[in-house]
């Protein structure tokens, strides 16, 4: 163990070297090495998980692919770094990953003290609780005295403490570092309650040994705006990551899909022409450091936001999560993108 600690210390020192090299221009670095290094969850169904062939797939993975498509026009030019909740931040700080697309909650602490930048929220989530139906619990307020399984290094862990304290409830936290350890402990009956973001609860429920024996309680106890994070100090890279998300939203707004994007290039709508980079003398991409047709490449690569959502976590997936808050602003949700102008 002493050796592990020593390695960690040297790692902590050496991590600076990486950050040093990467801080000049992340876009330049990514282009030079020829692929995007993307930090993802080590395995959360629907968001980021390797399939049977070992190919990564999921909502967050599609964001990695979309960024790679914007830069290289090729969704395969991504290398994935699976990270636990705990080691995701050092991975980004050290420059081991170029972007962290790992259902990470945007908080003021992470935005400032930890040295990251967040802007677009690609999934509006909230923390919930899952229990066994056999316990006959109908509300989170009945959970006093329960053992609660939770993953360490998450906002979940902190919200949990606050919620039980505010409501004067007792609980016994059972804390693990890795998601699969939390899942296994809950499945084995080590705890009565499983808590994480609601999207995560639905994803986890599917992989339990008897999904139908468990239910998600109605309470949502926190705001969890999830989105991609980058290091502070590289505005160009921050802009690229942000605008890839806005492109996905705008594409859905315009009705541009993976299937019809080539056709849409012929559209007479000046907004769409500008967005897809077919306007004469446009600098819509070069100002970002990309090609002018970057949005076309993104949409060709992964489709629009709605398609990404439905394919991975929505109706087209086993998770069947409703769009809810994540519907477009024009359809009752709060997903909204600035104009491309």
């Amino acid at each position: 163990m002493a050796k592990r600690i020593l390695t960690a210390l040297i790692g902590a020192a050496v991590m600076g070297i990486g950050a040093h090299g990467a801080s000049a221009s992340t876009l330049g670095d990514v282009k030079a090495k020829g692929f995007l290094q993307c930090g993802v969850n080590s395995g959360l169904a629907g968001f980021a998980a390797p399939d049977a062939q070992g190919n990564w797939a999921g909502f967050d993975v599609d964001y990695c692919k979309a960024i790679a498509a914007a830069i290289f026009g090729d969704v395969t030019k991504v290398k994935y770094t699976p990270t636990s909740a705990k080691d995701r931040f050092p991975a980004l700080q050290s420059g081991e990953v170029d972007v962290l697309a790992r259902n990470t909650t945007w908080t003021i602490n992470r935005d400032t003290a930890l040295g990251f930048n967040f802007r677009p929220v690609n999934y509006y989530d909230g923390q919930g609780f899952m229990v066994r139906k056999s316990l006959n619990v109908k509300s989170a307020l009945e959970l006093s005295g329960a053992a609660v399984c939770v993953q360490t290094g998450t906002t979940t862990e902190l919200n949990l403490a606050d919620y039980f304290k505010t409501n004067n409830l007792q609980y016994n936290p059972v804390v693990f570092e890795k998601l699969d350890e939390v899942n296994a402990a809950y499945d084995a009956g080590r705890c009565d309650v499983y808590t994480t973001d609601q999207s995560g609860l639905y994803a986890t429920r599917l992989i339990l040994s008897a999904p139908d024996d468990h239910m998600v309680l109605p309470e949502i106890i926190s705001k969890e705006p999830l989105g991609p994070a980058v290091r502070q100090g590289d505005d160009q890279w921050f802009d690229i990551v942000s605008w890839v998300h806005y492109a996905l939203i705008n594409a859905e707004d315009f009705g541009i899909t993976q299937a019809n994007v080539e056709e849409m290039k012929k559209s007479q709508n000046p907004d769409i022409q500008r967005f897809l980079g077919v306007e004469a003398d446009t600098k819509i991409g070069t100002d970002l450091g990309l090609e002018n047709d970057w949005a076309v490449k993104v949409i060709k690569g992964v489709g629009n936001y709605g398609e990404v959502f439905e394919r991975n976590i929505g109706a087209g997936s086993p998770l069947k999560i409703e769009r809810g808050l994540n519907a477009l602003w024009s359809k009752g949700g709060i997903q909204y993108a600035p104009p491309v102008r």
Partner: protein
């Protein structure tokens, strides 16, 4: 040059290569090593500071007084989510200490039994001990922890179907629940009586030793000591009107409520570390006993000393001199291996520190605290064992 003076005139040409002087060369190599080391340390430090600044990460230990905000499953001292990060680290430290001390205690006992067992003339005992050592010595400690956690403790029944043990104790997959003593007014006298009995016992043992030296007869030490240590507190307890009651665990809505609970996280770690380290201690004990010249026990037999007494009074004291130094290493290993706690979610120093590191981003500071604490723990253990070793060493007259 002073060197020239010492060299005979005939070998004047060699003065240029004073590097050939082994003494000079020795100093030179040491100087170069120190220089390289110093440069490396300075470079790493400066690089770290510079890069922390670049990443806008504050440094220093100020964060320790911030509110932790998270709860810890098991704590020996009062702790809530309102406590500070510093206190959370202390909680983790005590948890590490708890598992290390109890682990060392149990590992030593199991190790001595198995080690002596391997030397037994009884075929079954010797072979069983051998199998034990070979099994546990050849499995990584992490797997032993998982074996206890997932293989043994996780398959215990759910809280609603807890296994009842004698004395109102219960076992389920949430751990071991046992009655917690509640001390009412007057309970302190029972405690005082116990302390008094222990002091009296020590005095009596000394008296018994002295008496044995003088007359060759030994008073019945065991019975007197047992009588005092158990009888005196019991008597006080009854006289003061039984001021100690027990909070017995009973079935609650989710778990057993009341009593004290030792979670499966602690149990699996404690059992794994004890069993794993005991295998090594057994081999050390066996080596120590084998290291005592056979003539010693033969001489004891020749004097008519019984085999049990021979082991206790002749062989083991001499073996201890061989055993203690490697035993120290095993104690240090056990303490350091306790950081594997993170695999089963036991809130030890590393687990709690990791959470803090993650929340505050103060990786360098937290890692430095880990280093200092483990170093201090290890050095203290070494110091104590060195003292013990010196005490046990052959006293030459």
């Amino acid at each position: 040059m002073t060197v020239d003076v010492t060299i005979p005139p005939g070998k004047n040409r060699q003065t240029s290569s004073f590097l050939n002087d082994p003494k000079v060369r020795g100093y030179l190599y040491q100087a170069i090593t120190i220089l390289v080391l110093a440069i490396a340390v300075i470079w790493i430090t400066q690089n770290t500071i510079e890069n922390l600044k670049r990443a806008n990460i504050a440094s220093g230990y100020g964060f320790l007084s911030g509110r932790a905000g998270f709860d810890v499953g098991q704590s020996l001292i009062a702790y809530t989510s309102d406590s500070t990060y510093g206190r959370a680290l202390v909680v983790g430290f005590f948890n590490t200490l708890l598992v290390a001390v109890t682990g060392i205690f149990t590992a030593t006992i199991i190790g001595f039994i198995v080690g002596i067992g391997r030397l037994s003339k009884n075929w079954l005992i010797a072979k069983l001990s051998m199998v034990y050592v070979e099994v546990f010595r050849n499995i990584p400690p992490l797997l032993v922890i998982f074996f206890w956690y997932s293989g043994v403790l996780a398959v215990l029944p759910l809280p609603r179907d807890s296994l009842a043990l004698p004395l109102d104790m219960y076992v389920n997959n949430r751990g071991l629940a046992f009655p917690r003593p509640v001390f009412d007014n007057g309970a302190q006298f029972t405690f005082y009586a116990f302390v008094l009995a222990v002091i009296a016992s020590i005095a009596f043992v000394r008296y018994a030793n002295k008496k044995q030296m003088e007359t060759g007869k030994r008073p019945p030490v065991l019975w007197v000591v047992l009588g005092m240590v158990i009888g005196l507190p019991l008597l006080t307890f009854l006289v003061t009107g039984m001021p100690i009651s027990f909070d017995v665990p009973i079935a609650g809505k989710f778990n057993l409520t009341g009593g004290s609970v030792v979670g499966p996280e602690f149990l699996s770690l404690f059992l794994a570390l004890s069993f794993y380290t005991a295998a090594f201690i057994a081999e050390i004990v066996r080596a120590g006993i084998r290291g005592v010249s056979h003539g010693q026990s033969e001489a004891a037999h020749a004097l008519g000393i019984r085999p049990g007494l021979t082991t206790r009074l002749v062989v083991v004291p001499q073996a201890m001199r061989i055993i203690i130094p490697p035993l120290t290493s095993q104690y240090l290993n056990l303490t350091k291996n306790s950081s594997l706690a993170i695999a089963v979610g036991y809130a030890d120093l590393v687990a709690v520190g990791g959470t803090i590191l993650n929340q505050t981003g103060q990786s360098v500071e937290v890692v430095s605290i880990w280093l200092v604490v483990y170093l201090t723990l290890s050095l203290s253990t070494s110091l104590f064992m060195n003292w013990f070793n010196a005490k046990m060493a052959l006293v030459e007259r």
